[in-house]
Amino acid sequence: MQVENKEFKPLIVAFCCNWCSYAGADLAGTNRLNYPADVKIIRVPCSCRVNPLFILRAFQRGADGVIICGCHPGDCHYTTGNYYARRRMTLLFSMLDYLGIEKGRTRVEWVSAAEGQKFAETMNSFVETIRSLGENKRLEDLRCKTE
């Protein structure tokens, strides 16, 4: 079994809102704060743009973890978007947990445009969690195999 020798490289999708967290990720870069390359960022206008279906799609396609980052409560560029995101994700995550996708594989974090450090720390800790959880195999059989 070769798999055992190979270091587990998780696949992690991060949805970042354009105004706070995406800028926070930029700042992490500007300050050269490392976090694993396993994290791939998708830019959305607001955390409330993240449809639960996007997250399901990511898991369906083999993601090991999904994280949603938005502005801090009260600081949303669109006033209330992050509150909607928080409520939707709370529901979704408990449903996913019920389906066997552990709570640790999903996360919502508030990262402001000034928090490059926090962004890097958040990603490091999230990747660490996913690594300890291991590969997300629960959906394997149901996955739509892409050519």
Binding site: A23, G29, N34, K40, R49, R57, G81, A120
Partner: protein, 664 residues
């Protein structure tokens, strides 16, 4: 199928140092739809941009992916370059391989692999991009200012100065607001009336300004550039165009026992009244709840004495409809009711007054003609105790007070104390303070003068109880520095009541879909960088309605607000952000879920006819997004249960494609 060009930037060694740019370009060349792929040292430079432009022309590209720095840096640059050669700017996508790749990864193979994946995601997205055109809407070149205090007046004057017509809507019979009630202003001690009334007259005479006094905003519809507003002109029972403001009616009116709000109820006025001598417009108003004619049908004396026939007992409220491009909120503030803090005995003794009442007692036009007399027995007070922070800086659990600092009290209390000592040197003046907060030009100097030159006793501590007894106010207080409890027999106690937003602000905010904080202050679009705009486009904030501030701050903000309004009104058309929501009317079931989550009120419903398969027609209620109002957050797209709502530029399919590309 799109014809896509990929351009990988080195950013000198910033990207090329940890990402093998040549390999990225090579790998992406094999992505479906990619017909051209190259790398270059500085893609944002003029020659880099020319490289893109030339490729667009030469390879007839329909989409462009630039692998470079963050889109927050140069997305606009590359979009403009594309537009200059005829490619729709929204066909350009950026893969961020600097901030989110080369700068955070040290290992070349790791960085390169990630850059390729990010490039693939961008290519996948471009495949689904569609040309977008920003919508345009005309701008009604007229501004509405709600509130006629110093903030509203200043904003209106500045807008009018730039040549745009302005309407001021003021709920009371005259403009002037709270500043008209003040005596002197800190820290210069110039008289408030002397500097305010010329501005009131200027506003009345400025031909671009139209004052609707004794009026209220009844309803607001529409959006930035195109607000439809209904204004209710409350019946004064006096014809404004005929009344000359001679005041004869107010002298003859037999009903003279009406508490005079201009003097905080400390004296009386007649039922037909002009609030104060310099009122603008100087027109009488009948207070129907006190007028004998209105209540019993008998009297009519004012009508008899009026030489111009201005009295009209049957006048009705009038409604005016007007279109505005911009709305300015300048609804101001009021002091809180201090009755709930009755340990200070405000409701038990007339000699316990609020600072605004004290202001009137010091004012030459006030109930005592400027001689300081205590209300109970009209005698000169010899000992006066000022209490700061009454209802300000309270804990959230304390339901009586406000959590914020009211900001102006420290300075006006210093002013009152100083003026009192100046006019009546035989008076002992005590100020009980928690902190003295005097940031502002010449503010601390002013406060120090009160202490050092005028001998005001500033005591660090608080008053705990005021007991009226035998004509005195027995004040029990703490002196924290001396670690003593003080007992002072005072003649007057003056309470620096916290300020709160005017009661009219909350319903107005609902009408405007403008957001407010928990204290009912209007929220600004950005607390630092957009402090005079509401998050709702086309709504601007002036003065105390946004937070506590003194007159200099208010006037600065009022002018800043005017500058923003002028900037908006000087445009003929507004170009919107094309990345807005849109609804597929065939899918929409009219459930209103989207409308409920929209923070901007951008979604409305219309009944539309649809051709059914059997050639009949059916009318269904469907959502419609106003692109001029939508800000593109996307909350509605997720709330929509039927999948009818989608967002241009960040569509469901585009984001899914990115997910797929990353998870491949």
């Amino acid at each position: 199928m799109q014809r896509i060009g990929v351009f990988v930037c080195w950013c000198g060694s910033n990207i090329a140092g940890t990402v093998d740019v040549k390999q990225v370009a090579e790998m992406l060349k094999h992505e479906p739809g990619v017909v051209f792929s190259t790398d270059y040292q500085y893609m944002c430079s003029e020659s880099g941009q020319n490289l893109i432009k030339d490729a667009i022309k030469e390879y007839d590209l329909t989409g462009v992916v630039v692998c470079s720095c963050s889109p927050r840096m140069h997305e606009n640059t590359f979009r403009k370059a594309a537009a200059s050669v005829g490619l729709n700017p929204y066909m350009v996508e950026i893969a961020n391989i600097r901030e989110q790749c080369s700068w955070i990864h040290k290992d070349m193979p790791v960085g390169t692999a990630k850059a390729v994946i990010l490039g693939r995601a961008a290519v996948a997205k471009v495949h689904l991009n569609a040309p977008l055109t920003a919508g345009e809407s005309p701008v009604a070149k007229r501004a509405l200012v709600i509130g006629g205090g110093i903030a509203g007046i200043q904003t209106a004057l500045d807008i009018a100065e730039a040549g745009f017509p302005v309407d001021i809507v003021e709920k009371s019979p005259t403009i002037g607001g709270k500043m008209a009630q003040l005596d002197k202003t800190f820290p210069t001690l110039d008289c408030a009336a002397c500097i305010l009334t010329p501005k009131m007259v200027e506003a009345a005479q400025q031909e671009k300004i139209n004052i609707y006094a004794y009026s209220e905003v009844d309803s607001v519809k529409g959006f930035v550039g195109n607000f439809d507003v209904t204004i209710r002109r409350k019946a004064r029972f006096v014809k404004e165009d005929l009344c000359t403001g001679c005041g004869l009616c107010t002298e003859k009116c037999p009903m003279k026992k009406v508490p005079n709000e201009f003097n905080c109820g400390m004296d009386n006025r007649s039922a037909i009244y002009i609030p104060f001598a310099q009122a603008v417009p100087k027109v009488a108003t009948i207070d129907a709840s006190y007028c004998i004619k209105k209540k019993t049908g008998k009297c009519g004396l004012c009508s008899t004495v009026c030489g111009v026939g201005a009295i009209d007992y049957d006048q009705k409220d009038e409604f005016i409809e007007q279109k505005y491009g911009a709305i300015v909120v300048a609804t101001g503030f009021e002091p809180i009711s201090v009755e709930k803090f009755d340990e200070f005995a405000y409701s038990q003794s007339p000699d316990v007054v609020t600072s605004l009442e004290y202001e009137r007692l010091m004012n030459a036009a006030g109930p005592t003609s400027g001689t300081l007399l205590r209300p109970s027995d009209k005698q000169h007070p010899h000992t006066i105790v000022f209490v700061q922070c009454v209802g300000s800086r309270c804990d959230a659990k304390n339901e009586k007070g406000k959590q914020y600092c009211s900001k102006v009290c420290c300075m006006y209390t210093a002013k009152h104390a100083m003026l009192t000592r100046e006019k009546y040197p035989d008076t002992d003046v005590y100020v009980f303070y928690i902190d003295v907060r005097t940031p502002g030009k010449n503010f601390d100097e002013f406060y120090r003068r009160a202490v050092e030159d005028y001998g005001v006793h500033y005591i660090k501590g608080m008053v705990g109880k005021v007991v009226p007894e035998n004509g005195k106010l027995k004040v029990q207080a703490s002196d924290l520095l001396a670690n003593e409890q003080l007992h002072i027999d005072a003649d007057m106690v003056v309470l620096a009541a916290a300020i709160e937003p005017d009661k009219s602000a909350r319903p107005l905010a609902t009408m405007l879909t403008a957001s407010m904080d928990t204290n009912d202050f209007f929220t600004e679009a950005h607390p630092k960088l957009r402090p005079v705009e509401s998050p709702t486009a086309g709504v601007f904030l002036s003065g105390m309605c946004q937070g506590p501030k003194d007159i200099p701050d208010t006037v600065s903000q009022a002018s800043a607000c005017a500058a923003k309004v002028i900037g908006l009104l000087s445009k003929d058309k507004l170009t919107g952000n094309p990345c807005v929501a849109h609804s597929d009317e065939l899918l929409c079931n009219g459930c209103s879920s989207c409308e409920k989550v929209c923070p901007y009120g951008a979604i409305t419903y219309a009944d539309k006819e649809f051709r059914m398969p059997d050639r009949t027609t059916a009318v269904r209620r469907v959502a419609q997004v106003n692109p001029a109002v939508c800000q593109g957050c996307g909350a509605c797209t997720v709330a929509c249960p039927s999948g009818a709502m989608d967002l241009y530029g960040f569509s469901n399919q585009q984001i899914m494609a990115e997910v797929d590309a990353i998870c491949k």
